[in-house]
C-alpha cells in the first residue's frame, strides 16, 4: 500500500502524470462549459432575470420613501389606527416633499402608484403637485398653517384615509399586490387582511376558471390526439412522417390567422351554423353559440395545442414494440384487454408529457382566449396582460404572474408525487 502512495508516475518530460492528467481534464471541462455558455447566458438573461425582476416588482415599494422622505419620517410617530389627522410638521414635510417631487416630475407618478390602493389619489397628487409651490409661498407669506392651507386646497388632505395610505406604503416591502392577486384586502385602519365578498372576487375566480378550462383542453387534446398518434405510429415510417408534418401544419400559419378562422367558422352567422341551418338540423333561431364563450376557447385552443399532445404520444408509441401486444395476446388476453392492460400503460409516459405540456401551455395562454373567449372564456393571463398594458399596474401583474408560476410549480410537484416526473418521456 505504502509503495503505491510514494510511487509517482512521471510523464516523458518529467512532470507528475497525475497533475498533468488533472490539468487536461480541467481544460476539457472548461471547453465543454464554454460550449454551453451562450445558452446559459441566454437562459439567465431571458428567463432567470425576468423572473427575479417579477418577484422584485411584486413586493417592491420604494416610491413613497423616495418621493416623500420627510413625510415618511414625520409620519413615523402618527397612529394610523386612530381617528386624528397627522400633526402640522407632517403637513409641512409633505408640502416640502411635494414641491421637490413636482420639480422632478415625480409627484404624479407617486399619485398613480397610490391610486391602485386608494382611488382618487392620482388626481389629488396631480393637483397638489401642480399648485404646491404657490401654496407653500402662501403659507410662508401669511405665516399660516400648512394643515389648514392644504385641507382648504383639497378636502381629501383632511381625510385620515389618505394619510393612512401614505403611512402604510411608506414600507419599502409590501405584500399588498399579493393580497390583491388573491382577492384579499387589507383594511386601512386595522391592517387586517380579509377575503373580499364573493361578488367582488375576480382573480380567484379567474384562476379557478383557467385551471378548469385548461384541464378540459388537456382532456380534449388527449381524446383527439391519442387515436391519431396511435394511427400514425402504426403506419410505415414514410407515411407516418408525412402525417406528422400534417399534424404540425397548424404551426405554419400565424396564431392570429388560425384564431380568426375559428371565428369565421364558429360564430352564429358562421360557416358551421349556416351549414347546420341549411341542412335543417338547426332552426334560424336555434343557432348555436360556439364562440365568445368557454366553448370557443376550448375549441380554438384544443386545435392549437393538439400537436403538443400528439408529438410526445407518437414518439412514445413508436418505441413500444408490437411484441408487447403479441405477448399479451399469446398469453390469453383478448386484444381489447391486451390494449388496456399492456399497451395503454406503456403510453402513460407520453400521456404525462403531453398532458403536462398542453396544460402548462394553456394555463398561460392569452391571445386566443382574448379573441374568442368573450366573457366566460378568458384566462388569468388576460388580466395579467391588462395590468401590463392597460392599467399599468405592473406590481399587481407581477404578483399575479408569481401566483401563476407558483401554481404551475405546485402542479409539477403534485405530478411528481403522483405519477413521478421521471415517468415523462418525449420519445
Amino acid at each position: 500500500m505504502s509503495s503505491t502512495t510514494t510511487f509517482q508516475l512521471l510523464t516523458a518530460d518529467g512532470r507528475a502524470l497525475k497533475a498533468v492528467l488533472k490539468k487536461h481534464k480541467a481544460r476539457r471541462k472548461r471547453k465543454a462549459f464554454l460550449l454551453v455558455t451562450p445558452l446559459l447566458a441566454f437562459v439567465i438573461v431571458g428567463f432567470c432575470l425576468p423572473i427575479l425582476d417579477m418577484l422584485r416588482r411584486s413586493t417592491n415599494n420604494h416610491i413613497v420613501e423616495k418621493t416623500l422622505p420627510r413625510t415618511v419620517l414625520a409620519l413615523k410617530e402618527w397612529d394610523a389606527g386612530g381617528t386624528t389627522l397627522p400633526n402640522e410638521p407632517a403637513f409641512a414635510s409633505l408640502a416640502q416633499d411635494l414641491v421637490i417631487a413636482q420639480h422632478h416630475r415625480r409627484a404624479t407618478q407617486l399619485g398613480q402608484r397610490l391610486n391602485y390602493e386608494f382611488s382618487g389619489l392620482a388626481s389629488l397628487f396631480r393637483r397638489s403637485g401642480r399648485h404646491m409651490e404657490e401654496l407653500v409661498n402662501e403659507v410662508r407669506s401669511t405665516r399660516g398653517s400648512y394643515k389648514e392651507t392644504l385641507i382648504a386646497f383639497d378636502a381629501r388632505w383632511g381625510e385620515t384615509d389618505s394619510w393612512r395610505v401614505l403611512k402604510r406604503f411608506s414600507d419599502t416591502l409590501v405584500a399588498d399586490y399579493y393580497w390583491a392577486a388573491l382577492d384579499m384586502r387589507r383594511d386601512l385602519r386595522s391592517n387586517e387582511v380579509s377575503l373580499r365578498p364573493s361578488k367582488e372576487r375576480i382573480y380567484l375566480r379567474l384562476f379557478g376558471r383557467t385551471v378548469v378550462i385548461s384541464l378540459g383542453i388537456t382532456l380534449a387534446t388527449l381524446l383527439l390526439g391519442f387515436p391519431l398518434a396511435l394511427w400514425i405510429a402504426r403506419l410505415p415510417s414514410g407515411q407516418g412522417n408525412l402525417l406528422l408534418v400534417m399534424v404540425l401544419l397548424p404551426f405554419w400559419t400565424s396564431l392570429l390567422v388560425r384564431t380568426t378562422s375559428w371565428i369565421v367558422l364558429l360564430q352564429q352567422q358562421g360557416v358551421i351554423n349556416d351549414l347546420l341551418v341549411a341542412v335543417g338540423i338547426l332552426s334560424e333561431e336555434g343557432r348555436l353559440r360556439m364562440i365568445y364563450n368557454t366553448t370557443g376557447t376550448v375549441i380554438a385552443m384544443t386545435h392549437i395545442l393538439l400537436p403538443f399532445m400528439v408529438l410526445p404520444l407518437y414518439s412514445v408509441m413508436k418505441t413500444i414494440s408490437p411484441s408487447y401486444m403479441r405477448a399479451a395476446v399469446s398469453l390469453g388476453a383478448h386484444p381489447i384487454s391486451a390494449f388496456w392492460k399492456v399497451y395503454f400503460p406503456s403510453t402513460v409516459p407520453g400521456i404525462g408529457a403531453g398532458a403536462i405540456m398542453v396544460f402548462i401551455l394553456s394555463i398561460g395562454y392569452y391571445i386566443t382566449p382574448e379573441l374568442v373567449g368573450g366573457r366566460t372564456g378568458v384566462f388569468i393571463s388576460n388580466r395579467i396582460a391588462y395590468h401590463i398594458s392597460s392599467s399599468l399596474n405592473w406590481g399587481l401583474a407581477a404578483a399575479l404572474g408569481v401566483a401563476l408560476l407558483g401554481f404551475v410549480i405546485a402542479i409539477y410537484w403534485l405530478y411528481d408525487k403522483i405519477v413521478g416526473i421521471d415517468n415523462i418521456r418525449l420519445g
Binding site: R105, R106, T108, Q109, G111, Q112, N115, Y116, S119, G120, L121, A122, S123, R126, K199, E200, R201, I202, R205, L206, R209, Q267, Q268, Q269, G270, Y292, E370, L371, G374, R375, T376, R383, I388, S389, S391, L392, N393, W394
Partner: protein, 372 residues
C-alpha cells in the same frame, strides 16, 4: 383714409404674420430619421398621406419610419424609460394615455405656442386648440368618438336613440360592446334615467356603478365583448351583431368605403382626443427634428388634410372650415365628422379626471361583474 389705413395695416399684419411663419418653416430641417409610433391601418395611412409624405417631399433629408405600437405605447415607453434606451421620437396616443404618460414622467411637456404654428388668422396655437389641450405633454390631432353603428337590414325601424341599444324587445339581436367599464357605464346610466350632468357624480359611488351594471345586466346575455377596434366592424359586416360600439372612423369606412348595410347611431357619442406626445429621454438633436416636424404636421392645413382620408375631426378650430371632400370617394367629409352639429346633438366628452382616478377601482368592479 382710415379705411385704407386699416387695409394697409391688415396687409402689413398679414405679411408680418406670414413672414413670422415662414421664418420658422424656412428653418432648414437637419438630416434625421424619425421613428413615429401610431395605430397602424387606415389611421396611419391617413397620417402618411396628410403629414409624412408632404413633409418628406419638402425635406428629403428626413426619413420617417412608422411603428404601429400605439395600443401598447405607454407600457412600452415605460419599459424603454426603465431601460434608459428610448428609441421612439414621436408617439400617437389617446388623451388618457397622454395624461398617463405625462404623469408617469414618460413624456415631455411641450409649450404649444413656442413649438407649433399659429392659426392662419394669427390666433395662438394654445387658443386654436383651446380646451383640447388636456395635458401639458399632449398635442391634440383629432377629435374622434366612440359611438354605435347598426345593421339597417336587421332592424324593423332605424335606431335613433342610444337607449335602443338597451331595448331588446324592439331591437332583438346581439350587441358588440367594448370590454371595459369606460363609456358603457355612462351609456347605461343615461338610459337608466340619469341626467348627463349628473353621470359622474353617480358613478363616483359604488352604488352608482352597481346601478349602471344592473342596467347592463338587462342585455348582458346579448353582449359580445370586443377588445380590438376592428372587431365590431367585422361582426357588423358578418351580421353577427345587430349593433355595436366602435370608433366612428371605423364605421365610416364600413359604411362608405365597404358599402355595408350599416348606419350610424350618433346619439350620445363619446368624444375623445388623439394626438402626439414626445417621449422623455430622446437626444436634443432628435428633439429638434421632432419639433420641426410637429410645426409642419400640426398646422391648420395639415390637420384639415387628414380629414380627407379618415372621418375624424381636426383638433384645431381653425381647421374645421377647411375640411373638404374625401380623397378617393369624393364625398363631403363634413357631415361624417363627429363634430358636425347634426351628429353632435347629444354628446359626452371623455372625463379624463374621473377615469384617471377611478378607472382601476371601477374596472375591478366591472371585471367581477363580467365574470359573474
Amino acid at each position: 383714409m382710415s379705411r385704407n389705413l386699416f387695409v394697409a395695416l391688415a396687409a402689413v399684419l398679414a405679411l408680418g404674420l406670414s413672414a413670422c411663419k415662414d421664418d420658422k418653416a424656412s428653418m432648414e430641417a437637419k438630416p434625421a430619421e424619425l421613428v413615429v409610433v401610431s395605430w397602424g391601418g387606415a389611421y396611419s395611412a391617413s397620417q402618411q398621406s396628410a403629414y409624412h409624405t408632404p413633409y418628406m417631399e419638402k425635406y428629403p433629408q428626413v426619413t420617417i419610419v412608422n411603428d404601429d405600437s400605439s395600443n401598447e405605447a405607454v407600457p412600452k415607453l415605460r419599459a424603454m424609460n426603465e431601460a434608459g434606451n428610448v428609441t421612439w421620437d414621436l408617439v400617437d396616443v389617446v388623451a388618457a394615455d397622454a395624461i398617463r404618460a405625462c404623469d408617469d414622467g414618460l413624456a415631455l411637456e411641450i409649450d404649444v405656442d413656442d413649438t407649433l404654428a399659429k392659426a392662419p388668422d394669427g390666433t395662438k396655437a394654445s387658443a386654436d386648440f383651446g380646451d383640447l389641450l388636456v395635458s401639458p405633454c399632449f398635442i391634440p390631432q383629432i377629435v374622434y368618438s366612440t359611438t354605435f353603428g347598426y345593421r339597417t337590414d336587421l332592424v324593423k325601424e332605424p335606431m335613433t336613440d342610444l337607449c335602443d341599444i338597451f331595448d331588446l324587445a324592439r331591437f332583438p339581436g346581439k350587441r358588440s360592446l367594448e370590454k371595459q367599464p369606460i363609456n358603457n357605464l355612462e351609456w347605461a346610466l343615461l338610459c337608466d334615467g340619469v341626467d348627463a350632468d349628473d353621470i359622474y357624480n353617480v358613478l363616483g359611488t359604488k352604488e352608482g356603478v352597481e346601478r349602471a351594471l344592473k342596467k347592463l345586466d338587462t342585455i348582458k346575455s346579448e353582449i359580445i365583448w370586443w377588445s380590438k377596434g376592428a372587431e365590431t366592424p367585422q361582426r357588423l359586416a358578418d351580421g353577427e351583431v345587430v349593433a355595436g360600439s366602435t370608433y366612428n372612423g371605423r364605421l365610416f369606412s364600413l359604411i362608405e368605403e365597404k358599402k355595408q348595410p350599416v348606419a350610424m347611431l350618433w346619439d350620445w357619442q363619446i368624444f375623445d382626443l388623439d394626438g402626439w406626445i414626445v417621449p422623455k429621454g430622446i437626444s436634443d438633436e432628435q428633439l429638434e427634428a421632432v419639433k420641426h416636424y410637429l410645426y409642419f404636421a400640426t398646422d391648420t392645413q395639415r390637420l384639415a388634410d387628414q380629414a380627407k382620408y379618415i372621418s375624424y375631426g381636426p383638433a384645431r378650430s381653425s381647421s374645421a372650415p377647411l375640411v373638404g371632400k374625401h380623397a378617393d370617394l369624393g364625398i363631403d367629409m363634413a357631415p361624417h365628422m363627429p363634430t358636425d352639429p347634426n351628429n353632435a346633438k347629444n354628446v359626452l366628452l371623455f372625463n379624463f379626471d374621473f377615469w384617471g382616478d377611478k378607472r382601476d377601482e371601477i374596472d375591478e368592479q366591472f371585471q367581477a361583474w363580467l365574470s359573474r
